[in-house]
């Protein structure tokens, strides 16, 4: 069930052009799947009339907290990143479909680019919680323009092997995620990807060439976040579908790219 909850910011970590907010609720959290998102109201910002959809980075049911890793893109997200500890944040959650849980014996690769790394952590944790030990391997392939884009790596290392690419070579292998050497060495049969559109298209192309099952998480611009306004549609093989409701996660076989 979806809820509207006033959370309090109880912890904050700042990064260049991004912030990690830990939000605590007095109410029990609804059940949240990996890959779902929240819609956050931006208070006191003339240029953010609508809510901002943000991936759920982590969930702690025992303490009723969620973590949001937010990139400063425009005025709205900049305002959210500037929220101090103690601030109240109005959030609608959980929204969207989330990633499909892998099957027994799957070798799973989670590919994230830029802020697209955010939803992969919680999804990996749900794989550990719900599917392991039957899922064979979970590994992360995370890409950034520079090392500054790659945040919270220790968190990811707790959940699986982490492989890195940066465009400038400042960390990991130089190049794009699709150019990493692991593609030639690792056995992979399920890919989950979230990141900039060109990255996801490149990952989808690679997956198709190799016949690997692949889901991507889209971030089309949204208004309502709950499938009512039909603004965020992706043109798919089934026609225009709402990314907020029928997505944000789509199997690449449903997409036209």
């Amino acid at each position: 069930m979806k809820k509207i909850i006033d959370f309090i910011v109880i912890e904050k970590q700042s990064f260049p052009r991004a912030a990690l907010l830990k939000l605590k609720s007095d109410m029990p959290l609804p059940e949240i799947r990996g890959g779902q998102f929240v819609n956050v109201r931006v208070d006191g910002c003339d240029k953010a009339y609508l809510r901002r959809p943000i991936s759920i980075h982590d969930v702690d049911y025992q303490n009723n907290t969620i973590d949001l890793l937010i990139q400063e893109k425009h005025e709205g997200t900049t305002k959210l990143c500037a929220l101090p500890v103690g601030a109240t944040v109005n959030v609608v959650l959980p929204l969207g479909n989330g990633f499909t849980m892998p099957d027994k014996d799957d070798n799973v690769l989670l590919v994230g680019g830029g802020i697209g790394i955010a939803p992969l952590l919680y999804f990996a944790k749900t794989i550990c919680r719900d599917a392991r030990p039957s899922v064979f391997t979970t590994a992360f392939l995370l890409g950034g323009r520079t090392r500054d884009d790659l945040m919270l790596l220790d968190r990811f290392r707790n959940e699986g092997d982490v492989f890195i690419t940066t465009n400038d070579g400042s960390m990991g292998e130089k190049g794009f995620v699709t150019e990493h050497s692991l593609w030639d060495t690792m056995k992979i049969n399920k890919i989950y990807a979230c990141g900039p559109m060109p990255m996801m298209k490149a990952v989808a192309k690679l997956a198709r060439e190799r016949g690997i099952w692949c889901e991507v998480s889209l971030e089309n611009q949204m208004a309502c976040g709950i499938g009512a306004c039909l603004c965020c549609v992706e043109n798919t093989k089934e026609g225009n579908l709402c990314v907020c409701k029928e997505g944000p996660v789509f199997n690449i076989e449903r997409l036209l790219w």
Partner: protein, 303 residues
């Protein structure tokens, strides 16, 4: 106890709050947030005779205190509504109205006749004002002769409450409202979105796929309020006010300007629970002001 019931011809609302077409899906999308029985009515997504894919993405641009959209009436057509959606929503404990749109008079008439046959739909809202579709209704809604033609034709086949949604993109909206009334409308709702556009200065490209789109949200409220006031002075049929309503106070302003009921649109996106809050807030206002019947507020602006 404040009396909140609003009686329109063939349509009784338990309170003056409805939700605007295109912002509330089929009501189901909001069921986690709002007890629909607390609303006067919901107006479901614009429905056309045939399936429509709508316009390409991007369909939305955020603007100061508002947004532009060019969704373009994406829907699966009236038969799909009748067969698949209607059975799911017909027993909601509120009035379920269907917004009907078309690109020619025959389409309007055929779709309206199919909705007329549905026992649990007490009214339609005729959309002659969608700005996002070529010949998508707005062509009918911007001239007196156009609106007369389509309302007259639909009136012949539609026997329940016929609400006509007016476009603000006209020189004199009162004239258009009078034409709708003369052609047989039971009420008029206004305003649909204001035609606008947005350009990305960096790329020098339009933000919306259709270049232009309809502006809605808090920013349009003063224009909507003025038009509701002008129309309610001109016509005898009830006026349903909408345009930027985001609070109970906003809703009361529309009632005072002459609206018999109101619709909440874009504000549903910012607070999915807003519609029920507005209904409750209107009651609280009446209690505070010693108003026994909400109907006393209608047209009650003191000049």
């Amino acid at each position: 106890m404040v009396k909140t019931e609003i009686k329109l011809k063939g349509l009784t609302l338990k309170n003056p709050v409805m939700t605007a077409s295109g912002t509330f899906g089929y009501g189901e999308e909001y069921a986690d947030f709002v007890d629909l029985s607390e609303l006067g009515g919901i107006i479901v997504k614009g429905t056309t005779l045939h399936h429509r894919e709508g316009n390409p993405y991007p369909r939305m641009a955020e603007t100061p205190m508002g947004m532009l959209n060019c969704v373009g009436l994406q829907n699966k057509g009236v038969d799909y509504f009748v067969e698949t959606i209607y059975p799911r929503i017909r027993h909601f404990d509120t009035n379920v109205l269907v917004n009907v749109s078309g690109s020619n008079i025959d389409d309007y008439v055929t779709a309206a006749a199919k909705i007329d046959a549905l026992e649990d739909i007490p009214a339609i809202e005729l959309n002659v004002s969608c700005p996002n579709v070529k010949q998508g209704g707005m062509a009918f809604g911007v001239t007196c002769s156009g609106i007369e033609q389509v309302v007259k034709a639909v009136r012949e086949v539609y026997h329940k409450h016929l609400m006509v949604k007016l476009s603000p993109n006209v020189t004199n909206i009162a004239e258009i409202a009078l034409a709708a009334e003369a052609a047989g409308a039971d009420s008029v709702s206004l305003i649909n979105t204001l035609l606008g556009m947005a350009i990305n200065a960096e790329t020098r490209k339009p933000v919306l796929s259709m270049v232009t789109g309809g502006l809605s949200g808090a920013c349009v409220k003063p224009v909507a309020l003025r038009m509701v006031w002008q129309v309610s002075k001109a016509v005898k049929i009830p006026v349903i006010g909408l345009g930027g309503i985001s609070s109970a106070t906003d809703a009361i302003e529309f009632l005072l300007a002459g609206a018999s009921a109101i619709q909440i649109g874009t504000a549903n996106f910012i607070d999915p629970a807003i519609s029920a809050k507005v209904a409750k807030g209107i009651e609280e206002y009446c209690e505070r002001q010693g108003v026994e019947d909400v109907n006393e507020l209608v047209g009650g602006m003191i000049v």
